[in-house]
Symmetry: C2
Amino acid sequence: MTTPPDLAAAAFRTELLDAGLLIPTGVDGLYGRSAAYEQVAEGLERAISAMTAADGAERMRFPPLLSRQEFLASGYLKGFPHLAGTISCFCGNEADHRRLLQCIEADEDWSALQQPAEVVVTPAACYPVYPVVARRGPLPEAGLLVDVSSYCFRHEPSVDPCRMQMFRMREQVRIGTAAQVLAFRNAWLERGADWIRRLGVPVTTDLASDPFFGRAGKLMADGQIGQQLKFELLIPVSSADAPTACLSCNYHMTHFSEIWPLRTPDGNLAHTGCVAFGIDRLTLALFRHHGFDLNAWPADVRGQVFASEVFT
Amino acid sequence: MTTPPDLAAAAFRTELLDAGLLIPTGVDGLYGRSAAYEQVAEGLERAISAMTAADGAERMRFPPLLSRQEFLASGYLKGFPHLAGTISCFCGNEADHRRLLQCIEADEDWSALQQPAEVVVTPAACYPVYPVVARRGPLPEAGLLVDVSSYCFRHEPSVDPCRMQMFRMREQVRIGTAAQVLAFRNAWLERGADWIRRLGVPVTTDLASDPFFGRAGKLMADGQIGQQLKFELLIPVSSADAPTACLSCNYHMTHFSEIWPLRTPDGNLAHTGCVAFGIDRLTLALFRHHGFDLNAWPADVRGQVFASEVFT
């Protein structure tokens, strides 16, 4: 007898909340984190910095908001309208303000008093990178490797603690020729799995697709599988039977260079790819497999998570 | 002859962008950060952890989103409607999706295809703390001290790099009796100024008010000044003549315990206060006063920012 994945996930969330590692906010998928949880999440960020220190990535950090104009240009709303979060603001006068407060008091709709802001919530850590790199002009011969990390938003309320609405994603982003990007993406399949195994956690690799919207999306997902664009490294976390994607290795072909002028030195469309670490999912995987007491974790795992270099 | 503050601020932003410390996104007040910038910001976070290690704060971390219900309850929209950011999502079917994409293509308004989400962008790092602490029941005798840090949103596009739309705020939050909270708030006036001076940066302290909206807001601001609820620690950053608030020491009286059931052990309304460090403003202050080359900073400043303990 096995437990259905959704019941197992809800039970794991209850354990995490009862232990105080996650803090409820009243919204499924939005949680505060305890000091111990953050120590692991920050330790994983440092461990990734240590592992990739010799790769020569350019480190950039962006706040978890994105220019609305760049977001619309990205085409994200074509594939994933159901996951996106846009931001609105109040731009009215004092009479509008009184109406706003009256609507809230009466529990009436006040969206007519809101205007779209110039920003949206970041859907994936690498999205701010492409327009920034494109503005610099053609790439160097060796292409570019960028290291980013950000909280990201996906509107998918769930009782599964591995499916948060706001979660941290660390990424290595490769921009260059098709050969450069494919070599990078393919090397990470083994490199990522080795790293996860060294953390004392079981891992399998599988071909995957993104959660595209609707029937047209089904065709896009099939195409993605057929072209072997996305691989996921899976760890049993919330459920033993339905493992969770904790790391993904992606090849975008020329998707982003058709939107922003990313060009190789010879003027051709650049290819892009990224490796995305789900920091919160990896944190939960460590708690699942090594227990909630950090002091009881295997010494070599503690060494990797808590004793890595801080800066690259 | 002095430079008007807004021209000085715009010039400072140009210097930061030209040096690559800030990365433009096309939106005023939304910037990427370089590796060097982040090294300073992260160093300041660690320096604050080291300075406050013996205070016994409970460390909590929240993603930069807040429950919409708690946000409405907080009354933020009464005082600061113009600064808030709410989040909307697409919840439609495939026909709605086609209309959404047609509207975007034709540059038409598509807000009717957006629904309010259960979350908003966090306006101040301490906002998620009060409902969480209230749910635990009455406070212990000694009250509570909570350490939080988060990206925060304020809708005020500006050319002043010290006035970002998305910026990091580290806070120490005190919840207890009036005497406990006032002792905490008042002690930080000197403690905060001493800490800033040790970073080799000039600082002055001034009574202040929050940027309340409209004419009614003017009265609230006057009341806040009259009751000496808010003090700011100011550093000349973007302009020599108009110094920037980089740290604020606040006493909220029973504002938050009238909204959420924060109670002292004897059942009375708890008082709250907080000390808020503007991490990005402090980072910019260090660059302004010690230059853009980290290696040329005074050794004792480097020691404080880059050699502090990582964990509390």
